[in-house]
């Protein structure tokens, strides 16, 4: 068995009396696509913040390619090759779409190479019509794609997507799912999503979180049949 790209060991964070993430053991293989679901407040976004160093865990460790990155600075973790599209897109509002992609690509590439990558990503994500426009004026759905494109331009090995389909129309969701599958050919991904249709389009292995802990980890089909999962989503007797 090859070494996992990402592994967390007993990862926990406590805010006062609330343990937002409790002893999470996650193991992600190279080029794996993992969906992470769970009701609001399950700790999914908090887990992402821990993985990217935006929050420091109160217990546990994070291993990237077997190396301990727990406690590293956010930018240092990003440099190792973890990219994230955050739940609420973090963008440079007064800069253009093109600027975003270029800045992401330029960190590790020469100027001409960064220019080329920028053009390539604009093509790939379908941002051509808005490439020269200021990002602050775009709709939420478009901002999602701009951020996704920005992450791709940085070409990190592991990509975390926090609700990539939120605020999108049905067609846009389908397009995003296609894009995620395409990215997955070369990159490992963890995708947090509420939209079950979207999850069904892309999912192989699904991890379900509940109240900060991993409830179950299985294939999509098994998850859909799982009564415990139904219970947390619909309430104890909601499905009956």
């Amino acid at each position: 068995m090859t070494e996992p790209i990402l592994q967390t060991v007993g990862l926990s964070i406590r805010f006062g009396g609330v343990e937002a993430v409790r002893g999470v053991n996650l193991c992600l293989a190279e080029r794996e696509l993992r969906c992470l679901i769970g009701p609001n407040g399950a700790g999914k976004s908090t887990l992402f913040k821990l993985l990217t160093g935006q929050l420091q865990p109160t217990a546990g460790r994070i291993l990237f390619h077997g190396e301990d990155i727990t406690g590293d600075h956010t930018h240092a973790i990003a440099r190792r090759g973890i990219g994230i599209k955050t739940q609420v897109p973090n963008l440079f509002d007064s800069l253009t779409v093109r600027d975003h992609l270029w800045l992401a690509a330029r960190r590790t590439n020469s100027r001409p190479r960064a220019d080329a990558i920028t053009d390539e990503i604009i093509e790939r994500v379908g941002l051509g019509a808005i490439a020269g426009g200021m990002v602050g004026r775009l709709s939420h759905g478009l901002r999602q794609w701009v951020e996704l494109g920005t992450v791709l331009a940085g070409n990190p090995e592991l990509i975390l997507l926090d609700e990539p389909a939120a605020g999108m129309t049905h067609d846009e969701v389908a397009r995003t799912a296609e894009l995620v599958r395409e990215i997955n050919r070369t990159h490992a991904l963890i995708v947090v999503e509420h939209d079950m249709q979207f999850v069904r389009m892309i999912a192989r292995t699904v991890t379900v979180m509940h109240q900060g802990a991993v409830l179950v980890e299985d294939t999509m089909d098994q998850i859909l049949k799982n009564s415990a999962v139904r219970d947390i989503y619909l309430g104890k007797h909601g499905g009956a």
């Binding site: 600075h73 930018h75 990003a78 990219g83 440079f92 509002d93 220019d115 940085g154």
Partner: protein, 335 residues
């Protein structure tokens, strides 16, 4: 994207500077030339805050700390060496090193915007009080007496490098100051068009995203803050040379607030804006100084308030908005 095209605005501004630099000494008298020399020196100071605040997004209320440090460094070194070349260089290096140290604690300590403003303002006022209390024979650096609130008079002025006997005359000094202003202006634009400069602007826009892309936000802020300190220090040496005099007033509240007013009036987030704001406000200060009707500080306060309330983006960005609206109106098909 090829090499980024140089915007016509930058070329026009640089051309105006060259024209003023070469043309003005031919048409004005010596008094006016001296006036314009100090205006141009202050424009360099305005640019230093223009880049730190307008592009770096760093709220620095104490830019005068670096300006004053540059002025005093020049004064002390020039008095001791009786030669200005090293003094000018040190007047850039010393404030830059000080800015780097101060910035290290602020940015690596993750202080937020408001605290940056408070700390930088306090720092310049500490310098102000410190220099005010250096009266007496005990306070001397080498042969240079600091003289407390009376300041240091009769400073050696700029000489031709390596030739202390050959001082620059007012016209030559004006050429030098204009050349420095042009270099700082063009240099800053070149820097802002570079990878580093674009990251600095990105940091202003969204620190989290920069970090998530792998850029060290603290380092970028520290570097742009240090650069601002160096440029302000250069302006300080030009100012000390201009009057052959320096006093603790370079650190005062009115000095530091003036720099902020120049940038606000001219326009945050541009480089030509602070220059325009600086020239306008200094011209106004000179004119107001010639009459007794209204107090200059009071007038500055009123102008500052008026701009914050009515033209919060400053002259240059607002002109851009007006132009965009006009062209939108013209483009609209007649009803």
């Amino acid at each position: 994207m090829k090499l980024r095209r140089v915007s016509p605005g930058i070329v026009a501004t640089a051309a105006v500077m060259v024209a003023v630099g070469l043309g003005v000494p031919l048409v004005v008298d010596q008094f006016q030339l001296l006036q314009l020399t100090v205006f141009a020196s202050m424009c360099i100071l305005a640019l230093s805050l223009g880049v730190v605040w307008g592009y770096g997004g760093i709220l620095c209320f104490g830019q005068s700390a670096f300006f004053g440090l540059g002025a005093y460094t020049y004064a002390v070194t020039a008095v001791n060496l009786a030669e200005s070349t090293l003094a000018i260089l040190l007047s850039i290096v010393v404030p830059a090193v000080f800015a780097a140290l101060l910035g290290y604690f602020m940015f690596y300590g993750r202080l937020s915007d408001v605290y940056l403003g408070v700390i930088t303002l306090s720092v310049t006022l500490i310098f102000f009080n410190l220099m005010n209390s250096t009266a007496g024979d005990a306070y001397r650096i080498g042969t240079a007496r600091l003289n407390g609130f009376n300041g240091m008079p009769s400073l050696p002025t700029f000489n031709v490098p390596g030739n202390p006997g050959r001082l620059l005359d007012p016209t030559e000094t004006f050429y030098l100051v204009m050349a420095l202003l042009l270099s700082v202006y063009v240099g800053l634009h070149a820097l802002l068009a570079s990878h580093f400069g674009r990251v600095v602007v990105a940091v202003r826009e969204n620190e989290t995203r920069c970090e998530l892309l792998g850029y060290d936000v603290r380092l970028h802020k520290l570097l742009v803050f240090t650069l601002g300190g160096a440029i302000a220090g250069l302006a300080g040496s030009l100012f000390a040379n201009w009057g052959a005099f320096v006093s603790p007033n370079v650190f005062s509240l009115s000095t530091t607030s003036q720099i902020i007013i120049w940038v606000i009036v001219g326009g945050l987030g541009t480089l030509v804006g602070p220059i325009i704001g600086c020239v306008l406000m200094q011209y106004l200060a000179t004119e107001l100084g010639t009459q007794q009707l209204a107090n200059t500080s009071l007038m500055f306060g009123i102008i500052f308030l008026a701009f914050v309330l009515l033209v919060p983006r400053g002259i240059v960005p607002s002109l851009g908005v007006v132009r965009a609206r006009l062209s939108a109106v013209r483009a609209r098909p007649p009803a």
